[in-house]
Subunit: 319 residues, 2 copies
């Protein structure tokens, strides 16, 4: 079995099985709550698949897959405090359900638990796996910092935006791919190829997320549609509209419209310069590059097909 | 040279030398600000001294000493956000000088940087060093959680309080001692003895800190005297007074006094049941036990003298 569903099931079972102490409940309950919140489990799926692509079965690398998912959930938990977000995956965020101290401390514990899970590997691989993880973590904090910096900047370029999402989102997907391959003893060229695949997939993935925040189906998206516009978040859509129609954008913003009208008017600007289509093309471009990167990985046709299919899913615009 | 000053200077120089990236400034400046805030550097001093006690010089284990200090500063940074503290070591806390998002994210980065520094050791030691560090980190989060839990509990026992400070404060001193010895290739009995020394020193150290918060010399203490009483913090002094004079304590608290009078009246209760002396005796008891623990460590008389002297400093009541 080399399917997303197969790997997802293994991960869900491992998360359900993960033992956490009962006390102090204030520390561990929010961690369980966060892990049980669901999500696509994309990162651990990539890790299991990358190991499998080199003949190593899921159970051998499940601890690292859990570690990457734990780390991802830690970043979401702390990001939600920083963004003062109320809802995550359809449920109250930890700092809303408990309080911000709980969210900070439980998040800290999740980072240490993630490191522990990731370090639980063959001694000969420990140094490289840990270096990869720590380097990736630092890049992700840098990405989050740039994202916050952008809030108060009016002239963010598309290139700086893409570098920000590469750091904030892509490198963790890339890290998951590379770590799976490394743990499976893959050659350096293959490891680098899978890293590049994950990196490009991450860019496509984040651009798609930006697109869906404005153009998604409310029934399928999970969050409210238009949140980025309401918050004037510097997304790829926003930055391009500002670059090309600054006057019109500024006039709309100066009118202090209701959320509903603000979304409608800004969307009309996006539409007028073809941003939905252009964003779709850019996503397609990154997906194609991601698939090309696979050519340098010495993997079986079955594994290749898996990664191609996974990348393809990202361009499907319904969810 | 086997003195506190000698090890402190090496640590200060290494902190000054520590390279951090310039960008993004919002992430790295608060880290530099925090590290430059001073403090006693007790934990890295213990680590360097413990390695030296087994013949290994400071430069060999300086990375781990920095890692422990980085971790300690990370916990202070996040604790200050959770406690909503305004001042740390005479300067505005990071979340006051910048904001709480900055404090959260820079703290996260410090935890990863600490892990990196600690992991920068001999490959044969990596697993044990990392396990010790991660286990200690989890205990510290548990201690912080218990400390927060105590805020809303009226019946905290002395034993639970001591277990809380063991987790929140002692285990990091113990970890520093053990890690230095481990890195120096000490035998397990010596490692365990130094761990126990650090643990007992930590208990004495925290009880002394509690004492000084109420009875310290304002010119030397660095923080305002009486803060724990104002905040009704469950310290060793408070818990004992509540156990033995609950009626009187409750009457004082019910009067909603000014801070000045509240401190004066509560202090009078402490004095009436001899808590300053009893706290001094308990501290002395832990220091004696700490010194006894050294008997099981195969260290030179010079090293032993250093650890004895360091423990003695904790009972000096002037700072």
């Amino acid at each position: 079995m080399f399917t997303i569903d197969y790997f997802s099931e293994i991960i869900e079972a491992a998360i359900a099985d993960l033992k956490l102490p009962a006390d102090p409940a204030g520390l561990y309950e929010p961690i369980r709550y966060t892990l049980d919140g669901g999500g696509k489990r994309l990162r651990p799926v990539l890790l299991l698949a990358s190991a499998r692509a080199f003949g190593v079965k899921a159970s051998t690398v499940i601890s690292q897959a859990l570690g990457i998912e734990m780390f991802h959930n830690f970043t979401l938990l702390h990001d939600d405090v920083m963004d003062n977000a109320d809802v995550r995956r359809g449920r109250p965020t930890v700092h809303r359900r408990w309080n911000s101290s709980t969210a900070i401390l439980s998040g800290d514990a999740m980072l240490t638990l993630a490191t522990r899970l990731i370090a639980d590997c063959n001694a000969g691989k420990l140094r490289d796996v840990l270096d990869l993880f720590n380097t990736t973590a630092m890049e992700i904090y840098e990405g989050q910092q740039y994202d916050m910096d952008f809030e108060s900047q009016t002239d963010v370029s598309v290139d700086r935006y893409l570098e920000m999402i590469r750091l904030k989102t892509s490198v963790l997907l890339a890290c998951a791919c590379r770590m799976g391959a490394m743990l499976a003893g893959a050659d350096e060229q293959s490891c680098a190829a899978l890293y590049r695949y994950g990196e490009l997939l991450g860019l496509a993935f984040q651009l798609q997320d930006d697109y869906l925040d404005t153009y998604g189906d409310p029934a399928l998206f999970g969050k409210e549609i238009g949140g980025d516009i309401i918050n004037e978040k510097k997304t790829w859509l926003w930055i391009n509209a500002m670059n090309e129609c600054r006057g019109e954008m500024t006039r709309i913003l100066d009118r202090k419209l209701t959320d509903y009208l603000k979304i409608k008017e800004i969307k009309a600007v996006y539409d007028s310069i073809g941003l939905p289509e252009r964003s779709g093309e850019l996503i397609k471009h990154y997906v194609e590059q991601a698939v090309e990167a696979l050519d340098n990985a010495r993997i079986t046709p079955e594994a290749r097909e898996f990664f191609v299919k996974l990348a393809g899913r990202t361009t499907s615009r319904t969810h």
